[in-house]
């Protein structure tokens, strides 16, 4: 069974691999998940955790995943906003874990916005 002391092994491994987060904030990509009551009940928590898992798996050291409160669009939750430096904010709606993975691969890694997941006129 793991104990808190086992975290030292992770620390040593990370220090040797130098996979620390990029400390240069000017190229930090921020991925923000709406976590107000409606976001959470619509499924924001698994989306948030999928984003964390993918960022870890792909060792994306310049990506920070954060939470925010109400984004004022209950019907469109879960909502994920992506902030790439020097680019306009991109807002994804009705996100689930699968879409979250696509957002990481296509948008964050390859720089292509996932157009299918943006707000549509009928929303």
């Amino acid at each position: 069974m793991k104990s808190i002391a086992d975290i030292k092994a992770i620390r040593d491994k990370m220090q040797s691999e130098i996979i620390l987060r990029d400390s240069d904030e000017t190229n930090e990509i921020r991925v923000v998940v709406g976590m107000a009551t409606c976001g959470i009940s619509a499924g924001a928590r698994p989306v948030f955790n999928t984003l964390i898992d993918e960022v870890a798996k792909r060792k994306l050291t310049n990506v920070k995943v954060t939470r925010t409160g109400c984004l004022g669009m209950c019907k469109l939750e879960p909502i994920v906003e992506v902030f790439v430096p020097n680019q306009e904010k991109v807002t994804y709606v009705h996100v689930n874990s699968e879409k979250a993975m696509d957002i990481i691969v296509n948008h964050i890694v390859n720089g292509n916005v996932c157009k299918d997941y943006l707000i549509k006129d009928e929303d």
């Binding site: 069974m1 793991k2 975290i7 620390l20 698994p46 109400c70």
Partner: protein
């Protein structure tokens, strides 16, 4: 909410919004009751506001008129023959407690509490978080971000994804999700 751990995440968000620097989440269970407490040292609420806070038309948010989080957990607790209490002092902090009859047919499962705690640790916004899990007859499990940070030292931030995944596994391995034959 489908899981009580989602209510916990939602209630803890209030503590972050209240700019708390110390937040404690306690989950306690015995054969009779499952009790959730969220304790913070945030900005608190004055008496008059506190009286209205369990009413779904109270919120300090501007984007939507009604706050649902507190009325929701209160309603769920009462539906499960439990109890609800919120104490707050302006500029001192807030303590919310909700209990649920452990074997009540309408009680949502506790669900993925590890994922809830890790979602909070991933973005601590300057706060320290303590999670206590106490099942009757078992050693309590305590995770404090202060302690984890001490173990990590200065070079590795606690919100590094690899660390978060470790913490999630650590919680999952160390807590038991059933009591007296009832699944929590």
């Amino acid at each position: 909410m489908r899981e009580l751990s989602l209510n916990i995440l939602d209630i803890a968000e209030n503590s972050f919004k209240a700019e708390a620097t110390e937040i404690e989440i306690v989950v306690k269970a015995d054969a009779n009751f499952l009790t959730i407490s969220v304790i913070d040292n945030g900005v608190g609420m004055d008496e008059e506001f506190l009286k209205r806070v369990t009413d779904p038309f109270t919120t300090s948010r501007t984007t939507r008129k009604v706050g649902m989080g507190i009325p929701l957990i209160k309603m769920q607790a009462e539906l499960c023959e439990g109890s609800f209490d919120i104490q707050s002092t302006k500029w001192v902090g807030t303590t919310l407690t909700a209990s649920f009859k452990t074997n009540h047919i309408d009680r949502p499962p506790l669900g993925d509490i590890a994922e809830t705690i890790v979602s909070l640790i991933a973005d601590l916004k300057g706060a320290e978080l303590t999670f206590r899990y106490e099942l009757e007859g078992e050693e309590p499990f305590v995770l404090s971000t202060k302690e984890v940070k001490e173990e990590l030292g200065d070079t590795i931030p606690i919100d590094t994804p690899d660390v978060l995944i470790f913490i999630k596994d650590l919680i999952k391995e160390n807590i038991k999700l059933s009591i007296g034959g009832f699944s929590l």
